[in-house]
């Protein structure tokens, strides 16, 4: 199995968060995102930071893993910070040199936005992708969307497609690697030469990969048919989702957080976000 693909974020564990009902978790994440965008000043942001730390602690995921997940964002974070620092005008001038004007407000604003992005990504991935298997996730999504089936939207088919796609990502990654190795053994070179040459060098990988993907799809379809799969109608489930006291507790905690953020926004003075 491969370690570093974006979908493989799930971190095996048995924490409070791992045991939440995936249906609820999807709703919680939406709620959490709303709360993150409600926060307006440094006090409500401080509360958000506390909540993110709390999430990290109860998820029992090593901080290193979470930070590694943020690495792809470093560039975006850096970029937003720079733009905010230089473009936002305020009253307190910190630097005034040539065409560069930096204001305290801009600095704080940049800081808050960075915090927002980091919490948005880290918080949602802790709440959802790190602690829920992709399969449970699509399952939960299917159940949440199941009312839409009444108006003839193919909810089950959609979720089955998602499940299959997720299931085959690691397989395809592994296969790509195998094919690449086989071609490298015959002297293929993917890393030098002009862009056109490099694109051409991909042909010996893509063709076998597509062929095997099609073959796999066909075999899977046959196997499903052999087991009498006819779509979602009348299908019962092996894993029935149950809500428990945990989901209620999590909901209450989120409501409390939301109230806290709103109250701090209103009653605590302090630097407010300009954007």
């Amino acid at each position: 199995m491969k370690a570093d693909i974006a979908f493989g974020q799930y971190y095996e564990g048995n924490s409070f968060l791992h045991r939440l009902d995936p249906r609820w978790k999807i709703l919680f994440v939406i709620f959490y995102i709303v709360i993150i965008f409600l926060a307006k000043n440094i006090f409500s942001f401080a509360l958000l930071i506390l909540s993110a730390i709390f999430l990290t602690l109860i998820s029992r995921i090593p901080l290193r893993t979470i930070l590694r997940g943020l690495r792809p964002l470093v560039f975006i974070i850096f970029f937003t910070a720079i733009i905010n620092i230089f473009w936002l005008k305020g009253d307190t001038v910190l630097v005034d040199w040539w065409i560069i004007h930096i204001y305290l407000e801009g600095l704080i604003n940049a800081l808050l936005i960075v915090v927002r992005v980091v919490i948005l990504v880290a918080g949602t991935s802790i709440l959802l992708t790190y602690t829920t298997t992709p399969i449970a996730l699509t399952d939960g999504l299917e159940r949440l969307l199941s009312p839409l089936a009444k108006i003839h939207l193919p909810v089950h088919e959609f979720s089955m497609m998602m499940t299959i796609a997720l299931r085959f990502i690691p397989t395809l990654v592994e296969e790509t690697e195998k094919i690449m190795n086989a071609q490298k053994a015959r002297g293929a070179d993917f890393s030098t030469g002009s862009l056109v040459r490099r694109a051409k060098a991909l042909i010996p990988i893509l063709i076998p990969l597509f062929i095997s993907a099609f073959r796999r799809a066909e075999e899977l379809a046959t196997a499903m048919e052999c087991r009498c799969y006819t779509g979602g109608k009348g299908r019962t489930r092996m894993n029935i989702l149950h809500s428990s006291w945990r989901d209620v507790a999590a909901l209450l905690a989120l409501c409390a957080l939301c109230a806290g953020v709103v109250l701090l926004n209103i009653f605590a003075p302090g630097y407010a976000l300009a954007l």
Partner: protein, 286 residues
């Protein structure tokens, strides 16, 4: 000359991840030119990992891989040159086929080497003949071949590069018994003609006994035994302990000894067993 030496090679898959796997653990050995070396070991013992070290598909985490005394990773940019000298046929090589015709696919390796077209045509023809691909198959699409034919085409794709070191990861798996003997026989011929260094991974003790000059046994990423087939197969208990077996005829020799007819335990081919039995009878009668 094309001697490959591994010095204290260690390789770990998924380093730092929860499923970290030490596939090679401090392996030191030499594959000598002019020999066919057999590599055996239980499933997951690290054979495929080891052979991917030999042409630089994998880089050792520690230790060195030497080709004729030179570290193959001395200049990582030159690793392609190493791959032209060390031809590797992967475990399921049929997945590497991609070109329009079998002929063009076999020519992929030689073309990457920069051979001129005339020479390529000859090399392709020779490789196809070598692997028993009939000429009319050469014009077909590789995807229209049968499983065994695909395997032969893939083998030809590496053979056409005429490497000084030929590494084959289970080349005969999935072939019919006739095809198996044919391919392995041809590989031996190639080795004898060119003096190449040939390394074969296999699960068939019979094949190993018949075609190899030396046998290496792996277990859990370590080298646990090495020697001539006679030396290795006479240690049946140890082989069985690591989840392997001995050739059937070696088992027959053991059963004969237990029944009171000792013809020696270093027997690993039927021919040799017959020879021992007959000379034993002559001694008995004479």
């Amino acid at each position: 000359m094309a001697e490959i030496t591994l010095e204290n090679v260690t390789y770990v898959y998924g380093k730092g991840a929860p499923y970290e796997m030490r596939a090679l653990d401090d392996v030191s050995l030499t594959f000598r030119a002019g020999e066919i070396t057999g590599l055996i070991g239980h499933t997951g013992s690290g054979k495929s990992t080891l052979v991917q070290m030999l042409n630089g598909l994998l880089k050792p985490d520690s230790g060195r891989v030497l080709l004729d005394g030179k570290d193959i990773w001395e200049d990582p940019k030159q690793i392609q040159q190493i791959r032209f000298q060390v031809g590797l046929v992967m475990q399921y090589p049929e997945y590497q086929l991609f070109d329009e015709t079998v002929e063009a696919d076999i020519a992929f390796g030689p073309k990457n080497m920069g051979m001129d077209p005339e020479k390529i045509r000859e090399a392709v023809k020779r490789a196809a003949q070598f692997t028993g691909l009939r000429p009319e198959l050469l014009k077909k699409s590789p995807f229209d071949l049968s499983g065994g034919q695909k395997r032969r085409a893939a083998l030809a794709g590496v053979m056409a590069m005429e490497p000084a070191v030929l590494v084959l990861d289970e080349p005969a798996a999935g072939l019919d018994p006739g095809g198996r003997r044919e391919i392995l026989g041809r590989i031996r011929e190639y080795q004898q003609k060119s003096g190449a260094n040939v390394i074969i991974v296999s699960h068939s003790m019979e094949d190993m006994a018949l075609y190899c000059d030396r046998v290496l046994v792996m277990e859990n990423g370590r080298l646990v035994m090495s020697g001539t087939p006679a030396q290795v197969f006479s240690r049946a208990e140890e082989l069985i302990a690591v989840g392997l077996d001995v050739p059937q005829i070696t088992r027959v020799a053991r059963a004969l000894r237990d029944a009171g007819v000792d013809i020696g335990l270093d027997i690993y081919t039927v021919k040799f067993a017959a020879h021992r039995l007959l000379s034993g009878r002559e001694a008995h009668e004479g």
